[in-house]
Symmetry: C2
């Protein structure tokens, strides 16, 4: 079972994780990209994913703090710069808030996290804790979902622009940037994992780390699907699209 | 909004959290207790909840490690003794494994956690991290769901014995013990919270901690409901009742 793979075989195994488990396969994404969600459901997606976006530089700072070589830190710190920007209003988090603005969500409400689904919070925090508690190799390997993101982003932007009159090229600007940032980041991380996973155990740990990260993304969509697409029960305290609309109209 | 409550008012607010958000209200529990789940669905419940049970003494050890007074530690350590027992085969975790045994689940498979739903893992780990990272007051307040457990346990044991021929008084022995342990533990924790939540902010934090814990329990049932009662999609790697049965028959 655990034989030593060549770097190329390891890469193939990692790519296979994406083919089997990346959240592009989730029914919620098919509905999102196919134009089958209503305004409130798209709001719920953007609102919940805000927390994921906001925690990305926190998890990257945690990884940065564990890197002992300046060369590694120099490459990794760019991720933090990309998400936080150089000043207020710039960077990936700010671009995500332009999306939630564009969807008519009150910015204070979004950033307060009050309307977050608990499962979103638990999944995102699991990611933050994972990169702090596991080996550096596993922490870096867990970022490799970025290998799979250009495909889904292309599909998302095209699908959402075509199907929803409440989004625009401007409100989706976050994704444009990611189309260049993610492949650069993924190349670096993949190269690191291929060079540093030198035992069968390390290679399996890297594969499991990527599976874990796929779970983190998948569970967030499960939570959205079952709270907003096919709800069996209300979630105490979570965002309610109608109430949000009433609040804005008030 | 945040005025200082009397200890009795604080207790009433805490009890109100249970009335609104305790997992006794969850549709999955109504199905479980009403005999409306099939064998595989009850297996999935016992298998997933095993991880919660197994982590209880871990989270209590974390709380113990933060108590600076011998008097507090003397009371709290009993929780760990109750769950771990004095020797192999005793204590709450062992009693939970008698339930999974009785449901025909392979013990190595259960304890390997391989079949766990990711949302179960994230929710339970969120609890472990919460008691480590938040104030001691909040950590103790998060245990107060035990105030509400005697009611649900009575309902569960009666309902399951009446409705399922695959459970027995012996396999449900875990719950008998909890009927005496939980009220004793809850009394101590409630008294601590009432005495130590001395500012409006501390009182609100204690209420929020109990709401958080209700979310931890609720999300576990959401995950079971949507994976095993009303599934929209398979969960890669998670327990599949049929496959488990085939494995045992092989």
């Amino acid at each position: 079972m655990t034989t030593l793979l060549s770097p190329e075989e390891l890469e193939a195994r990692l790519r296979d994780v994406g083919r089997r488990r990346y959240h592009s396969l989730h029914p919620f994404h098919k509905l999102l990209h196919g134009g089958e969600l209503n305004f409130g459901q798209v709001q719920a997606w953007a609102l919940n994913r805000y927390f994921y976006q906001a925690m990305i530089p926190v998890k990257d700072s945690s990884i940065l703090a564990r890197m002992e070589e300046p060369e590694l830190r120099r490459a990794w710190r760019q991720r933090i710069i990309d998400h936080d920007g150089d000043r207020e209003g710039e960077g990936g988090i700010a671009r995500w808030l332009k999306l939630t603005d564009g969807l008519g969500l009150d910015r204070d409400y979004v950033t307060s996290l009050r309307g977050l689904l608990p499962a979103t919070r638990f999944a995102v925090e699991a990611y933050v804790h994972f990169v702090r508690d596991k080996s550096l190799l596993e922490a870096i390997a867990s970022s490799l979902t970025e290998m799979f993101s250009p495909g889904i982003i292309g599909e998302r932007v095209a699908g959402m622009l075509k199907n929803y009159d409440f989004v625009s090229k401007e409100t989706l600007a976050y994704f444009d940037k990611r189309l260049t940032e993610a492949p650069r980041d993924a190349d670096f991380a993949l190269d690191y994992v291929k060079r540093n996973a030198r035992t069968p155990e390390q290679q399996q740990a890297a594969i499991r780390a990527l599976e874990f990260k796929c779970d983190v993304l998948w569970v967030q969509l499960d939570a959205l699907y079952f709270a907003y697409v096919d709800p069996a029960m209300p979630y105490p305290g979570a965002f309610v699209p109608e109430a949000a609309r009433a609040r804005q109209e008030a």
